[in-house]
C-alpha cells in the first residue's frame, strides 16, 4: 500500500517536473500598433519552428503598456518575459541593470546588419540591450494631387517657409481639406515628439549644458509661434486632441494636404485597403530652417528581456525570431513587402523587391540617417535623444510641457504663457531631481 502511494507520488512528482519543460510559456507585453498585431497573427510560424515555447500576448495601448511594464520592471514583479520598450527606455533601463544583454541572438541574427543610428540608441557600453522590431524617423507625407492643384512642387528637402506656403495653398476648408495635420495631443511621445524635433531645426534645445531649461529662448518662441500659426490657420478642427492615430485617420480619409509624422505611417497611407488616397501620396524629408538640423526624430520599438527572468533562453529564441531577417521574409510572403516592419536592417534597403514595393523606402532610410541622437541640436546639450531627453524625469516633464503646448493650440492659454508655464514646471522638477543645484 505505502509503496503504491509512494510510486504514485513519485509519478506525480515526475510528471510535475516534466510538464513545464514540455511547453515553456512566454508572456509578451506589446503595444497595439499595426506591426505588432501582425506579429501576433504570425505566431503560428514561431510555434511550428519552436514547439517547446508557447506565447501569451498582452497587447496594450502605448501609455498603458509603458505604465505597466515600467511598474513591473522597477518592482521586479516578473510578470513579463519579453517587453516591448522604446528607444527612450532602453538606455535608462540598461544602465540600471534591469535588462538582459542580447549579445547572443544566434549566428544568423547578423547584428551588424542593424542600422547604425538605431543600434547606437540601444547599445550601452558596447552591448545591445534591446532588439529593434521596427524603427522610424519622421518625414513629410503629402498629397501629390493637391500639391499639383496648388501649382507647387515639393522639394526632397523642404524648408519650413515652403511648408507654410504650401499649407496655405492646399487648404480648402469648404471641402474639408486642411493644408497640414500635426500632432496636438499632449504627451511626451505625442505632441512633444513632434515639437522637440521641430525645435531642433529652429536651433532650440531642452536644456543648456547646466541643465537649465530653455523655454525662455527666442528659438523656442519662434518654434511655437510657427507651429501655432500653421495649425490655427491651416490645421483641422480639434487638432489639440490629435495624436498619431487621429492624424492617420484624417490623412487616410483625404482630409490632410500634408502630414509630418512617423515614417512607419507611409505603409499605411499607401495601402489601398485602408487609405482613400493611397495613389496620391508623396514623401519628403522633414523641413529645416537652414541651421544644419532637420525636424525629424528617431525612434524604434524594441523587444527586451527583463533581468531576473527565469526564461531568458526561450525569450532570446523568440526575440531572435521576431527581429530576424527571416521574419521580414515571412511577412513579405504573407502580406507583401510593403508591410514588412521597416527601419531596422541595412539589408532591407538593399533588397530590390522591397525598394520596388515600398516607394517610401528611400525617404525613410534618408530620414533615419539624418537623425543623430548623440548630437540632436544646433547648440551643445548634455543629453542624448532627438525628440526626448534620455533621463528618467523626462516622461513627466515632457507630458507636463506637452499639456501647456496643447492648451496653447486649443487657445486656452497664450503661446507666451504656455512657454512660461513650461519653463517653470521643468525647472521645478529638475531642481527637485537635483540637476540644478
Amino acid at each position: 500500500m505505502t509503496t503504491f502511494i509512494r510510486a504514485l507520488l513519485g509519478a506525480t512528482a515526475i510528471s510535475l517536473a516534466v510538464s513545464p519543460a514540455l511547453a515553456e510559456k512566454l508572456t509578451i507585453a506589446t503595444v497595439n500598433n499595426g506591426d505588432m498585431i501582425r506579429m501576433q497573427r504570425l505566431t503560428d510560424d514561431f510555434a511550428a519552428k519552436h514547439p517547446g515555447i508557447e506565447l501569451e500576448w498582452v497587447v496594450l495601448e502605448e501609455n498603458v503598456l509603458r505604465q505597466r511594464v515600467t511598474t513591473d520592471i522597477a518592482t521586479k514583479g516578473g510578470q513579463y518575459d519579453v517587453m516591448t520598450i522604446g528607444t527612450y527606455e532602453a538606455p535608462i533601463w540598461a544602465k540600471q541593470g534591469w535588462l538582459v544583454a542580447l549579445d547572443d541572438l544566434g549566428a544568423d541574427y547578423d547584428v551588424d546588419d542593424l542600422l547604425p543610428a538605431i543600434r547606437g540608441g540601444l547599445t550601452v557600453d558596447g552591448k545591445l540591450y534591446a532588439a529593434p522590431f521596427y524603427g522610424e524617423s519622421s518625414m513629410v507625407m503629402y498629397r501629390q494631387d493637391l500639391m499639383e492643384k496648388a501649382g507647387l512642387t515639393m522639394p526632397d528637402a523642404p524648408t519650413w517657409d515652403f511648408i507654410k506656403q504650401a499649407a496655405a495653398a492646399m487648404t480648402d476648408k469648404g471641402n474639408e481639406v486642411y493644408g497640414i495635420c500635426l500632432r496636438g495631443k499632449a504627451g511626451w511621445g505625442e505632441n512633444m515628439a513632434f515639437l522637440s524635433a521641430m525645435a531642433n531645426s529652429y536651433g532650440a534645445r531642452w536644456f543648456d549644458m547646466d541643465w537649465k531649461p530653455q523655454f525662455d529662448s527666442e528659438a523656442w518662441k519662434a518654434t511655437l509661434a510657427d507651429y501655432l500659426y500653421l495649425m490655427n490657420n491651416y490645421g483641422p478642427p480639434g487638432a489639440s486632441s490629435n495624436g498619431f492615430n487621429e492624424n492617420l485617420a484624417l490623412f487616410q480619409t483625404g482630409k490632410c494636404g500634408m502630414w509630418i509624422d512617423a515614417t512607419v505611417a507611409a505603409s499605411f497611407v499607401t495601402n489601398p485597403n485602408d487609405s482613400q488616397v493611397a495613389e496620391q501620396v508623396g514623401f519628403a524629408l522633414a523641413p529645416d530652417n537652414g541651421l544644419g538640423k532637420r525636424g525629424n526624430w528617431l525612434w524604434a520599438w524594441n523587444l527586451a528581456i527583463p533581468a531576473g527572468s527565469q526564461k531568458t533562453e526561450a525569450a532570446k529564441t523568440f526575440i531572435g525570431w521576431a527581429t530576424s531577417k527571416d521574419y521580414l521574409e515571412l511577412v513579405a510572403s504573407k502580406e507583401g513587402w510593403a508591410n514588412v516592419p521597416p527601419g531596422t536592417r541595412t539589408s532591407l534597403y538593399e533588397n530590390e523587391k522591397y525598394l520596388e514595393a515600398a516607394p517610401f523606402a528611400k525617404m525613410t532610410l534618408d530620414s533615419i540617417n539624418a537623425a543623430d541622437p548623440q548630437k540632436p541640436t544646433v547648440d551643445e546639450v548634455p543629453y542624448v535623444g532627438v525628440q526626448f531627453v534620455a533621463i528618467p524625469e523626462f516622461q513627466g516633464i515632457g507630458t507636463a510641457v506637452g499639456q501647456q503646448f496643447s492648451a496653447a493650440l486649443a487657445g486656452s492659454v497664450s503661446a507666451e504663457q504656455a512657454l512660461q508655464n513650461a519653463q517653470q514646471a521643468t525647472e521645478r522638477t529638475m531642481r527637485r531631481a537635483g540637476y540644478i543645484k
Binding site: N32, G34, E56, R68, T75, K76, G78, Y80, L248
Partner: protein, 276 residues
C-alpha cells in the same frame, strides 16, 4: 379623477418618456450598430442608422486578435468570486449592526465607507509590492481579494439598510422558541433577506465587472478580465471605430444582459435604505 380619464396625457407622457429613454440609450445603441459596419461606413458622412451593409468582420478580427473567452471567464470568475466572498463577510457584519445596535454603529459604517476614499492610483506601488511578495500578481484570487475589499463597505451598507427593515419581533419570537443564533440567521433571517441579498449581489457584480484600475494594473496575461481586453483597442492605428465598437459591445454585453434580466431585483435593493 380627471387625470386618469385623459388618454392624451398618457400619450404625451409615453412620448416624452420614450424619447428621453431612447436618448439616454442612444450611445449604446449607436455603438452596437457601428460594430456591424465596415470601418469606412463607420465614419461615413452623413452616417446611416441601419441602411448599411451589415458585416461581422469586426467581431472576427477582434476574436482573432484577443482571446475573448479567456477575458470573459476571468471577468465572470473575478466578479462573482469577489461578490460571494464579500457577502460571506458582510452578511454577519450587517446582521449584527442591524439587530444588535451599538452606539458606534453609524460611526463604523461611515468609517467603512471612508476606506473607499484612498485613491487607488496613490497606493498602486505598495499594493503591487505586497502582491509580488505573495505571488498574487496576475492571479484571479488576488483580484478577488482586492475587489472584495474595495466593495465590502458598499455591500455591508446595502445589507445593513435592508436587514434593518426586518422587524425585530420576528427574531425575538424565534429566540423565545429556543432558536440558536445559527438557526436565527439561517432559518429566520436569511429567507426574509434573500431579495436584499440578491440585489446586493447584482450591484456588486456590476461594480466588480466594471472596475478598471486594479483589474488592469495587477494582471498580465492569465487573469486579465475584459477591462484589460478593452485596453488593447483604445487607440489602434488608423480607422478603428468599427473595431472599437465591436470590442466595446463584447465587453459590456454580458453585464448589460444580466442587468436587464434582473433589473427588478436590482432596483428593489438599490435604495440603500433610502425608502421607508
Amino acid at each position: 379623477m380627471a387625470r386618469r380619464a385623459t388618454g392624451t396625457r398618457k400619450i404625451l407622457v409615453t412620448l416624452a418618456a420614450w424619447s428621453v429613454g431612447l436618448a439616454i440609450f442612444f450611445p449604446i445603441l449607436w455603438t452596437i450598430l457601428t460594430s456591424f459596419k465596415t470601418e469606412a461606413e463607420a465614419i461615413a458622412s452623413p452616417p446611416s442608422l441601419i441602411a448599411f451593409r451589415w458585416t461581422l468582420e469586426n467581431y472576427v478580427e477582434v476574436n482573432a486578435r484577443s482571446d475573448y473567452f479567456l477575458h470573459f471567464m476571468n471577468s465572470v470568475v473575478i466578479s462573482l468570486g469577489s461578490t460571494l466572498l464579500g457577502l460571506l463577510i458582510a452578511i454577519p457584519a450587517a446582521w449584527s449592526m442591524a439587530f444588535v445596535p451599538a452606539k458606534r454603529t453609524k460611526d463604523i459604517l461611515m468609517w467603512m465607507l471612508s476606506t473607499k476614499m484612498l485613491p487607488p492610483v496613490g497606493v498602486l506601488v505598495p499594493i503591487y509590492l505586497i502582491f509580488r511578495d505573495f505571488g498574487l500578481l496576475d492571479t484571479r484570487i488576488g483580484l478577488i481579494v482586492v475587489l472584495t475589499l474595495i466593495n465590502l463597505p458598499i455591500i455591508v451598507w446595502m445589507l445593513f439598510t435592508y436587514f434593518k427593515e426586518i422587524p425585530g419581533e420576528i427574531l425575538e419570537a424565534a429566540r423565545m422558541d429556543g432558536a440558536s443564533l445559527w438557526d436565527e440567521v439561517v432559518h429566520v433571517l436569511t429567507p426574509m433577506a434573500v431579495p436584499g441579498i440578491a440585489s446586493t449581489l447584482l450591484l456588486n457584480i456590476i461594480l466588480a465587472w466594471n472596475e478598471a484600475f486594479w483589474t488592469l494594473n495587477l494582471t498580465a496575461a492569465k487573469a486579465a478580465p475584459l477591462t484589460a481586453f478593452i485596453a488593447s483597442y483604445s487607440s489602434p492605428e488608423g480607422l478603428f471605430y468599427a473595431k472599437l465598437s465591436a470590442a466595446s459591445t463584447l465587453a459590456i454585453a454580458p453585464i448589460l444582459i444580466l442587468g436587464w434580466f434582473s433589473q427588478k431585483q436590482l432596483v428593489r435593493g438599490l435604495t440603500f435604505g433610502a425608502v421607508k
